[in-house]
Symmetry: C2
Subunit: 346 residues, 2 copies
């Protein structure tokens, strides 16, 4: 069972967290009655002020770990920037830990936290439910960002990956595509799993039969070469897809390359949709149609949740920020002629 939190004390006393905090820190004007209520609630619940909050006040650590699987995917940069801006405004520095999705490395970094070298952590590399993490979240301020444990009450920030993937596939279908390929990954990210579910769900709703040969689970990582190879396999099929939905922009850029290598024009012969809207998605020719994640805001929000936990609030919030369909030059109606004649009729 979790130790009682400052939020529970506030609830028990029937007053705000801010007031409880003022009583505990003996700062600001609080009536004797309110002080009494707070002290009684603290006693009833057996509440002990959070050790991390104390460290904060004593200025002992002021470091937050930010764990990422890698820094080669440009997706992480704006998230890290958002977290850092928010944390540094509150007097914290971040230390970025690259885990390479390796359990031993991750554990090593967690030990740094146990040894009081950091006050809390934002985790971006843990997707599957992980007993260690759940246990850790009972002891230390933790927030997950992008990836999260579905069954656990760890605070997390992400978009609704299922709905975003459904929207991407529905948009392609609305353009006339029925042969829609999927390029995924063999990783354990919940985001990848939800995007795959969203792809299948959209096909089902649209009554487009699932073609197993149109699903390619590429590699473990999201790399350009993985995208080239996966798209190559899909495009070599007898009846090739006319559109590809890729679970990351980097995979989609690989798909553009695979199309070029086969003399296929994008978007005339093939539509390609990415995911994330990384910085260079709009630098390429054709500029990539994609699902934009509000990465900077996700990082900033994860940092805010963590700061609140470090000041004694309870964790367990699930925050979903809105995604955005960004239509650029890599998608077009199918078949193109048909649509032209339609638009001529208007």
């Amino acid at each position: 069972m979790r130790a009682p939190t400052i939020s529970q004390v506030a609830k028990e006393a029937g007053i705000s967290v801010a007031t409880v905090s003022r009583v505990m820190n003996q700062k600001g004007a609080v009536s004797p009655e309110t002080t009494q209520k707070v002290l009684q609630a603290i006693e009833r619940l057996g509440y002990q002020p959070n050790i991390w909050g104390r460290n904060l006040r004593r200025g002992e650590s002021q470091v937050v770990l930010v764990m990422v699987p890698n820094v080669t995917n440009p997706y992480y940069a704006p998230i890290i920037a958002g977290a850092e801006d928010t944390l540094s405004a509150a007097g914290y520095s971040i230390m970025l830990c690259i885990t390479n999705m390796d359990r031993a490395r991750r554990r090593h970094y967690v030990d740094l936290m146990r040894n009081r070298r950091a006050d809390g952590a934002i985790l971006m590399d843990i997707s599957v439910d992980d007993r260690d993490m759940v246990q850790l979240s009972e002891e230390y301020p933790l927030v997950q960002c992008c990836e999260y444990c579905e069954s656990a009450a760890i605070s997390h920030v992400s978009i609704d990956n299922f709905s975003a993937a459904r929207e991407a596939v529905s948009r392609l279908a609305a353009l006339g595509h029925t042969r829609i390929g999927y390029i995924g990954a063999k990783n354990s990210f919940i985001s990848t799993a939800l995007r795959h579910k969203g792809y299948r769900s959209a096909l089902e709703e649209l009554s487009i039969p699932l073609h197993p040969g149109y699903e390619d689970f590429a590699g473990r990582d999201y790399s350009f070469s993985t995208g080239v190879e996966a798209a190559g396999r899909l495009l070599e099929q007898k009846e090739r897809p006319t559109a590809l939905f890729c679970v990351s922009d980097v995979l989609a850029l690989g798909a553009l390359q695979a199309a070029r290598e086969r003399g296929l024009r994008v978007p005339e012969d093939l539509s390609v949709v990415g995911f994330d809207d990384v910085e260079y998605a709009s630098m390429f020719q054709p500029r990539l149609t994609t699902i934009r994640q509000p990465c900077y805001r996700m990082g900033a929000l994860a940092a805010s949740l963590l700061l609140r936990q470090m000041q004694g609030e309870a964790g367990g919030q699930a925050m979903f920020l809105p995604h955005e369909w960004v239509s650029r030059d890599s998608t077009a109606p199918w078949p193109l002629n048909h649509t032209f004649s339609v638009s001529n009729d208007l």
Copy 2:
């Protein structure tokens, strides 16, 4: 004055550092005569085994700070990967510190080292000579990577930026270009300054008059939009450059965009050369001609130098790794017709 180092002990004793290390650690077969020589040299110099070496043996910290200006430039990713692979093989974890080139942030991270939260540091954000850093390097194991203090004896790893820039400009001149523009930056990186010197030096050697209007110092950072704007200014000139040498690939990709916006074909109407060979330089169309830096090896070498310092060796080594001219699709002879007729004559 620097405290005597294990290297000086080795020199004084007239034997190798490895042997001195064996004597000090009482490991391996060493003759009594040699042991005697080492002990005498240690006494003469007043040598004290390095505190960091002791920490290493006691397993006290095992963390190395890696300071980068940002993670948004993909240039840093393979350097960090090289450093991490080398350090983790030696039992170290890295903590990546994003300084945003801010002195206060950098100082904060340095304090972490002073507080023994890290054993040493690889610095990638410090370019100008910096008294703080020089002093720090007397006390802690430090290696600079990419950027370095020219006047200080801090170990560093980089390419020869001056020669690399000279080569790029000379290659463009060899293709027939004489109107060669320069896109630089207003930062304090020594690499930027040396590339600019190399540009000017090549022009001088080739007796191409310097055209002040062909030099654009863009912004402080290397961003795509900065490259678009800088190239835009150069291309709007009455007699526009026929080739652009950019001090980073990201700026060069911006230059490609500026050319597209003006209906200029690359490489037919304009040659563009980048610098670094970041991962996506070869994903673009046209694939970018650039100077390749051996980033992974630079990171790995910086880590090796740091490990040796942490085991007691002296710092102060300057290591320059070879760069490589990578000719792709963004450069062509000038004027193109003239060259065709020449090749027809062959």
